[in-house]
Symmetry: C2
Subunit: 478 residues, 2 copies
């Protein structure tokens, strides 16, 4: 007699990510009961074994674990496109917009980014921002997996718009304590919420933006609550300069001093890390968030992920922010990661397709400390699953032998828009490219309106009177 | 009284590419009569002035000149995904498949690639391959603009599968003469066909694959018929090594010797060109085809397009081939060109979005010698026009002032799948993402079947017994 199941996805090209490769299974099926994968195997077998309430025919589709985005700033989607192709990206382009990005705008950007990412097959979103009311609720409603990191810094109110490049930032202990308190409220409210679909980390915004005391307080809270610490590390020459000026040492040495270099740390960017520093951080057990697209566009740099991996470290992919990437799409990150690293090493064999697909799935899950729950299609894991149509003019043909073409074509020719079905914790949240959980039209309307509101405020702001991209716009180049 | 028009596209964000920027016009319209643009201006004005048989409301869309792909090998789409992430891409991965790629397979690949490119907004396809029966007919039927370059080489029959890396290629004068004769048949049949929508060039496959005599014969034919010469130049260490071994000099010096360096030449790749050689070629008036995606994936190299432009040269973008890129999508080329060059120079201001959009449109047209006919939305030019939906979760918001976000978001966040309408020479060939001129399902079926047929032949071919990617497949990494 057939066993009951809630969902059966069958007849697809399974990329399970089990083992150390891509775990390919031809004509494969995934059976789900509740939130959990109960079987992975040949379609013919599982179709007989399970009587499933919902069946999805994945013929002509790849079926893979939901993609994991380990580092996003979703609020910035509301000003997508205002900051790129410039030097001093933050101070020279984004900061004047960020200054006017209030709670309502942040919520609009976040929802837009969540929809964008869902439609590109991202099921886990690790979001790192100054918390705004309704943040967790967006993820609760969207039905995707979220790791919320409320950022903590000791910068005085007003943001970065007034700083001069090269000045030491002022640090404000009271602001830092307030930020930590706000962060802990998010942790209390959301860690483990939605049956564990939403979790949290603690997020010092960077070693340069908090005092040693504040970082110590964060560390103590992280240990007490067994939370990871999600932090920008060696993210740019600006940070390193601040660290040397304030503490007399570069970031990795400082982090070692204050006890931050261990498996609790998700270190974001490492843009400026030397080879030795990269090895040191990887050896500590810390994980790395690699944001190829954003660091490429902002700095023209390829971060040292290949070395981090070679040193035994785990690397996940992050899309960072829309204004300075300018998309939040793990397909984009896979492709750019593979290509940028080939260019960095002038070697086409570096970062092959299967390896970056692992970074986007199981390694991303491990980078977030969720490798035991998600990241592969294996019995006992939660059912985060996406189907991707391969019957597309940009992905055909599907060849199997002697060379299997599915993974290289997903990585190098896929755009994310071939994703058809998205399942998170057993629930179908996107079906035939339709988002079932959010009103996409309303999300787009709101993002447009909020973006326009910010743009009007920037236009009226004397601090924003000399933006390079405004000059380019006026000159007809944009 | 209203004037008659055949087509009016109105209410869009026009990116006309007129002048030296992007030629933005808010709420703009393009009126077309026959094949030709008869007016470009404010919607309110043109909607009153013209009584158009077909009207397209482009509200919420960008309207831009059709994209120009200056260098494709469309037949290889039939083996998309069999060659990447390896050293010696040609000999070690593609050649065993290319060996079995017969006329029927080439036609299937070409049609697949044409559909893929149309759906990504490419209206002009500069296709460079060994001619097969029905090649021109595919473009005639598709209704897109084509520049056909039948390749000419003096390689003996059997292709490159049997060569050993480092050996001097054997050249076979009879094979070369036959190839030139075949090429001239294509020129006779297709140059100026379809009311000029299809044109041709002559295409020595590379300076290393033809004798000096054959190159001389090609040159004489090109002059006599006033055709451009479309040729791989300094395309890899393999070519340079052959040139030095056979002729005692590197490619650019050799081309100068034989009178090839002038405005008639479209020089493809320049991967191995030194700074001085790049300057020399640009100064000659020759144009450059930049294939960022394919050279990145195959060689891990960023070709010297920035220098070529700085030296006054014109650069267009090419998608090269699906097996070693792995897509034929000018959106992909724009993004990779901007990002790769930022990385090459470690400078985010290099190759800004507006500049790469020009390379994909007007500069591409100029690179093909078609700058007087297409590449911008201007009165008197042929109406190659695409509309791109901006009301997409990955492209919103659309902000106008003080920074206009449309171009950066198209370049960095667009995938090509936001293209809605494609018009070539005044005729709508894609409407709401539906290809009106070809049976897309049949094209996909045929590509799949032909790809499978080639794969079976490769599996049975002793010459292909030790493919690196077959080993990777067997090891579960693909």
């Amino acid at each position: 007699m057939a066993e009951p199941a809630d969902l059966l996805i069958s007849r697809g090209h399974l990329l399970t990510m089990a083992g150390d490769g891509v775990g390919y299974l031809a004509d494969g099926a995934v059976a789900v009961r509740g939130r959990t994968i109960v079987a992975v195997g040949p379609s013919v077998e599982l179709e007989h074994r399970y009587d499933a309430a919902t069946r999805i025919d994945a013929s002509g589709h790849a079926v893979l674990p939901g993609l994991v985005d380990v580092h996003m700033h979703t609020h910035f989607a509301v000003v997508r496109g205002v900051a790129q192709d410039v030097g001093h990206w933050m101070q020279g382009a984004l900061a004047p917009y960020a200054r006017h990005l209030d709670h309502a705008a942040a919520a609009a950007g976040c929802a837009l980014n969540v929809v964008e990412a869902m439609l590109a097959g991202t099921t886990t979103m690790s979001d790192y921002l100054r918390p705004f009311p309704g943040w967790g609720e967006i993820y609760a409603r969207a039905g995707v997996r979220a790791v919320l990191t409320p950022t903590i810094n000791a910068l005085p109110p007003g943001g970065m718009a007034g700083w001069r490049i090269g000045d030491l930032y002022p640090l404000d202990e009271a602001a830092g304590e307030a930020a930590l308190a706000r962060a802990l409220e998010v942790v209390e409210r959301w860690h483990g919420a939605e049956d564990g679909r939403i979790t949290t980390m603690l997020g010092p915004q960077g070693p340069d933006m908090a005092s040693r005391e504040l970082l110590g307080a964060v560390r103590r809270e992280a240990e007490r609550r067994d939370l990871s610490i999600h932090m920008h590390v060696a993210q740019g020459d600006r940070e390193i300069e601040q660290m040397v000026k304030r503490h007399g040492k570069r970031t990795p040495a400082y982090l070692a001093d204050i006890g931050y270099l261990d498996a609790r740390l998700l270190a974001v960017h490492l843009t400026e890390a030397t080879d030795e520093e990269t090895d040191q951080i990887a050896a500590s057990g810390a994980r790395m968030a690699l944001c190829s697209g954003s660091i490429g566009i902002i700095d023209g740099i390829v971060p040292p992920a290949a070395r981090f991996k070679a040193a035994g470290g785990v690397v996940g992919l992050g899309s960072d922010q829309a204004s300075g990437n300018n998309c939040n799409n793990v397909f984009n990150e896979m492709k750019l990661t593979a290509l940028f690293n080939k260019i960095r090493f002038r070697d086409p064999t570096v970062m092959p397709a299967g390896e970056v697909l692992r970074m986007a799935t199981i390694d991303g899950a491990r980078a977030l400390g969720l490798g035991h729950r998600i990241g592969s299609l294996e019995v006992g894991k939660e059912a985060d699953v996406v189907t991707v149509s391969l019957r597309e003019p940009n992905l055909l043909p599907v060849l199997d032998h002697p060379v299997r073409t599915i993974v290289p074509n997903l990585v190098y020719a896929g755009t994310g828009k071939e994703v058809r079905t998205v399942v998170v914790a057993g629930r179908v949240v996107v079906r035939d490219r339709e988002v079932l959980t959010l009103d996409v039209e309303a999300v787009m309307d709101r993002a447009q309106a909020e973006g326009e509101r910010i743009a009007r405020a920037v236009a009226a702001d004397p601090l924003a009177s000399d933006l390079a991209l405004a000059r380019a716009t006026d000159a007809g180049r944009l």
